[in-house]
Symmetry: C2
Subunit: 353 residues, 2 copies
């Protein structure tokens, strides 16, 4: 697999192989102290605090993201081009990472771990997640020939399963039996919470629709797990350097998307046509959540990311009740119960060593 390629390249390098092993040890220690919160040393405790902080940030940002989307739809302002918005998000993330780096250089000076320059051997895997997301986003246009929007919403929960499976296969990290069971009920619980009268359409999905949905789930899961592999490969490397390169390639691939899909519109109407205050808020929010995802990959893992996104989905629904007068269904309560128990099971079901 691709992750093996990273490992093989490492061996040709200098000290980075030890880095990986060091990282494995650290993550073992971290996973013991995490979730339960009963860390041993103060180093574990501060790592646990960092992990909790980035996870909470991701949860809050993701839930406010969905609320901003509903808000912008309600305001009827959805006239901007999605590809230019995506490009702006990548550019903003890149700028923010660079700003953080400037600050670090001022304080610590330029070191081996925080300098921007990377060897080709290290940087050549950075375009892969962005490329995978581009393919996934292109597929998204075609899947609607086979499934309608409510069914697609349901099928997206396959991401949970694909992330778990690829996490196990590619990163070779173990989940206990209880944690696997928790992950399956998490997927069922999230889907249950999103049930609405048109959800049953998903049962009429034709074979091609299922195949595309599964391929998209695998692409998305693979991109996430691969990002974690890249970021965890050199734990000592400053996260802002890693982010900078990830987002540079994000900009490049989103530029390709603009050229292939929205070139005429951008040429005729301008890059920022249809942007409003709310569009700017959404771009800022997406940029911050993107950075939070990277932080979760660095200090936690894809499993924590999936749980965080699931909790965000529930928070969004609850907040929408107050903001937009949404009604919560019985299915939502049942799904929320199942998701909550899943989180509990994940935390008590740590693998025995």
């Amino acid at each position: 697999m691709e992750y093996r390629k990273i490992k093989d390249l490492e061996k040709e390098g200098d000290t980075t192989q030890d880095d990986i092993e060091e990282s494995h040890k650290k993550s073992l220690i971290a996973s013991t102290s995490t979730m339960s919160g009963i860390g041993g040393s103060s180093a574990n405790l501060s790592k646990w605090k960092l992990k909790s902080m980035v996870t909470i940030a991701l949860t809050v940002l993701t839930s406010s993201q969905a609320i901003l989307i509903v808000w912008s739809k309600r305001a009827g302002k959805y006239e901007y081009s999605v590809t230019t918005a995506n490009f702006s998000v990548e550019a903003l993330k890149c700028a923010l990472s660079f700003a953080a780096l400037l600050r670090t250089w001022n304080i610590e000076g330029v070191t081996e771990d925080n300098r921007l320059k990377m060897s080709w051997d290290e940087v050549n895997v950075y375009p892969i997640p962005a490329a995978l997301y581009l393919v996934k986003n292109l597929l998204q246009y075609y899947i609607f020939a086979y499934v309608d929007a409510p069914a697609y919403q349901i099928l997206k929960n396959l991401n949970i399963i694909s992330t778990g499976v690829l996490y196990r296969i590619i990163l070779k990290k173990k989940l206990s039996e209880v944690q696997w069971a928790a992950f399956i009920v998490l997927c069922a619980g999230c889907t249950t919470a999103q049930l609405n009268p048109s959800s049953d359409h998903v049962l009429q999905t034709p074979f091609q629709g299922w195949v595309m949905a599964i391929v998209m789930a695998l692409l998305s899961g693979f991109a996430g797990v691969y990002t974690e592999a890249i970021i965890k490969k050199r734990p000592s490397r400053n996260i802002n350097v890693q982010n900078f390169w990830l987002y540079v390639f994000g900009m490049i691939f989103n530029a390709i998307a603009i050229l292939t899909q929205d070139f005429d519109a951008v040429m005729n109407q301008g890059f920022f046509h249809g942007y409003s205050l709310i569009t700017a808020c959404m771009i800022l929010n997406h940029a911050l959540s993107g950075i939070a995802v990277s932080m979760v990959m660095k200090y936690a893992d894809n499993i924590v990311k999936v749980y965080s996104t699931s909790v965000a989905m529930i928070l969004t629904a609850v907040v929408s009740v107050f903001l937009f007068g949404f009604h919560l269904s019985l299915a939502f309560f049942l799904g929320t119960t199942v998701v909550s128990v899943s989180i509990y099971l994940h935390s008590i079901g740590k693998p025995q060593r």
Copy 2:
């Protein structure tokens, strides 16, 4: 609580206290070998076989019971009086237990454990489950003033939680953290599988409706747990003797129900008015499932009974697809997934000793 009363009475008796302790030891051994199926000695294995057999019998009988009800409704034959049918079920169970006893006496002769005569101290708790069911059935008439039929169907799943809680409190048997979590998702999963477009009515249930639903769940859970306490109190006592006395009191309490509710109808139209072949099948099925419930109480426990009933609910729906052309909803698949994972979690989550 009432169970303490049983224990106190025991102490005044002779050897039965040892019986209880013996039973606790046996059930500990049984619970180790059970579910996993990896029994130690051959005694454990045969106990495990017995437990599996009665559980499968209960599951099959319960699911065919629901199918018979649908069938009888479809055939439009629902004109018989429910109270006389309930009485007939108790009478048939009583007769079957007595027939089984006659056979035992022929083979083994009359012993201390299989003789019909019981001391007043032992028999005086036998009416309690039947009395509890009577109160619950009477309440059932009043709850419909506050909740409609689909909402009632949903609220009945509270039985699962009440059984778990009372099992813990009254029988003082421990479930592990994982098993508790499994039990909560079982309740959510069963409810999810039964969701239909009118299920959301349950969210409009007024306060009185909730109180009555919870009281009914507690009565039903208490009756189940109390029956287990009675049957397990003297493990050496022949199950048919125990059943005989339980069903004698069942007959008495159902006779009271006939007198108070259907006396005029029975007097004018006769006891068996409106009975058909399908009614007879239903009565036979109910009688056999009732005996299977007793067997599960003797050789397994209330938790196994709840899981068995949940699986029966799923089997009923699947069989109904073929028999009556029912459509399965997405909610059904999600609920079934959650129930299946719950069964898995219950089996791997045995309490550590």
